[in-house]
Assembly symmetry: C2
Homo-oligomer: 344 residues x 2
């Protein structure tokens, strides 16, 4: 399996995960009975970006505030905070990162409810947790994670629907694999478009709200695969200083799906194009946003905002994959990184 093949495997993996609805509802039932006050979530790398999605999704749909754990407080400092009232969640495709496992072990020691979201249901992370949500993405061979990311997002989205008990959310989830299939049809167009960025050395990646996570994950794929210095921002934080970097021709990659934050993204993209003379690569379902870009990448229309991160990351994965080839690098084994990183 190559990176490109794993990207194309996503619709079928998402479909098979959807069949696990009753298991997810069982987990949701246990969480509801525990009356948790907030979520304390530990993750690294791609899985941390899945956590960023959950921060918005569980906040907006389930009223759950989320603290993103600082694992070094558990490992190096040995001064974990008091977690009373928290649902302690670890997200990790391999389930092997020792620092993420430590956070769950401490959660258990403090008698909190613990949940592992992982592609490895026999891993140390799963063994340390009361509840295990298996994301069923199958073995991932490429070092850069793609199908495990969308599977983690899907698992977190299903849990949100189950916690809320909202049938309309389940109906939307059923349509999701079809939207991902639709966006994959642009593979060749994205391959052509990526050639323009053969000599790009740095860029920023913007997203906001639900797609804040997408900006981070797109930037991470670019860094891992193409060695570009790609820095992710919410468009709000970007205004508080970093926008000063952008002068004529500076490349800005953006995810601007329709929804509550679209107008603020459109305003930022207009400013970047008109005033800063930026180069724009825009992933969007809205003509207005696409029209501002030198490189527009259209999304299917009619998606609910909360599910757009699962679709909008797919052309971003393709963009990173094709740009890697265009730059003459190896998509399967990027230099300096390994599949499982043993941070403490």
């Amino acid at each position: 399996m190559t990176l490109h093949e794993e990207i194309f495997e996503q619709p079928s993996r998402l479909r098979s995960l959807l069949e696990q609805r009753s298991q997810v509802e069982k987990i949701a039932g246990t969480i509801r009975r525990h009356r948790v006050r907030y979520v304390f979530l530990a993750a690294r790398g791609t899985s941390d970006n899945a956590g960023r999605y959950a921060n918005y999704l569980w906040g907006a749909q389930n009223g759950l505030p989320m603290a993103l754990a600082t694992p070094s407080l558990f490992t190096y400092y040995h001064q974990p905070p008091h977690l009373t009232g928290a649902l302690v969640v670890g997200v990790s495709q391999s389930g092997k990162s020792p620092d993420i496992v430590s956070v769950l072990e401490e959660g258990r020691r403090q008698e909190c409810l613990t949940l592992a979201v992982t592609n490895a249901p026999d891993s140390p992370l799963a063994q340390a947790a009361d509840l295990v949500l298996d994301v069923r993405a199958g073995a991932e061979k490429a070092v850069a994670a793609t199908k495990t990311y969308t599977a983690e997002l899907m698992a977190l989205a299903m849990l949100s629907a189950a916690l809320k008990g909202d049938e309309a959310m389940w109906t939307d989830l059923q349509r999701l694999p079809g939207w991902v299939e639709e966006v994959l049809k642009q593979d060749e167009a994205i391959a052509r478009l990526s050639q323009r960025y053969r000599y790009m050395l740095q860029c920023v990646v913007l997203g906001r709200g639900y797609n804040y996570a997408t900006a981070f994950e797109w930037a991470l794929k670019l860094k891992e695969l193409t060695y570009i210095s790609a820095e992710p921002y919410s468009s709000a934080d970007f205004q508080h200083g970093p926008i000063a970097m952008v002068a004529g021709g500076f490349p800005v990659l953006a995810v601007a799906a329709s929804g509550q934050v679209f107008d603020s993204m459109l305003e930022m993209l207009t400013r970047l194009r008109r005033t800063h003379l930026a180069e724009l690569v825009v992933i969007s379902d809205k003509t207005k946003a696409l029209a501002l870009a030198q490189s527009p990448i259209p999304l299917p229309t009619g998606m609910p905002e909360w599910l757009t991160p699962l679709v909008s990351i797919v052309p971003a994965q393709l963009f990173a994959c094709h740009l890697t080839r265009v730059k003459g690098y190896d998509t399967e084994t990027p230099r300096s990184i390994t599949k499982v990183t043993g941070t403490h």
Copy 2:
């Protein structure tokens, strides 16, 4: 007042803030009486980096988990999470960012205890809060924040000491302005050293634990002032992918103060220098770390780890200030940004 003068004003501003001990202890008393379960903190830009410090400090010293707010849930999505049991904190030098004010207003509506940490005690943020911690940094003229950052850190550190009721922490705090004075003596050396980076266009900035915040703030100053694409990381997250970017001569700026995470930072710096052939600028109080750097910047020795972020940011500010001059840019009015950013 210029940026350079404001950097030099820091020891006296920190001294005058220390005189507010009894006010800070009053605030701590109220917080203790409310038996908060966790902290829900909203901030942007430089103040968000102060929040990153509080995340480690209040976690390690006070056992308080921290959720960093996603203000768009309050403004664009109108779906704020349930905040029962939270101390809701807004950090903002101007106290005027509408989205940060919204988070405090919602906290109040939900009957949580609310705290404003600000340099503007008459601001909308202060008016929306039950408790106001005035950081007393005086008017800050330069667009790039320096003395308001260290004042916010000091206020958060004093509150930690007051919440813990730990006299040893207060003794350390008294010594802090002297350490900042000592590090300012390197002004000319840092001006000379910065010349080497005249043509640097991008870099990464590493820190971990308490100094994770320092890495973010150093990177932000570089972006605001020198327009360099400077990306901050914890050394742990950096291993999960982004390290792939670093090849021969790639500049890595690092804060490696002695303490619990020093050995892991030293290991990372050794790997970057020996295997990746990186260019290293290192701020440290340890000879071993300084010896690895092409550009070593020594810190005073004998500081407790929890206070190192207040000292280690100062040479980083000087580095950014001098590099701005070396590159021929304006330190007082960077392009494209303003002092108060009205994000919603």
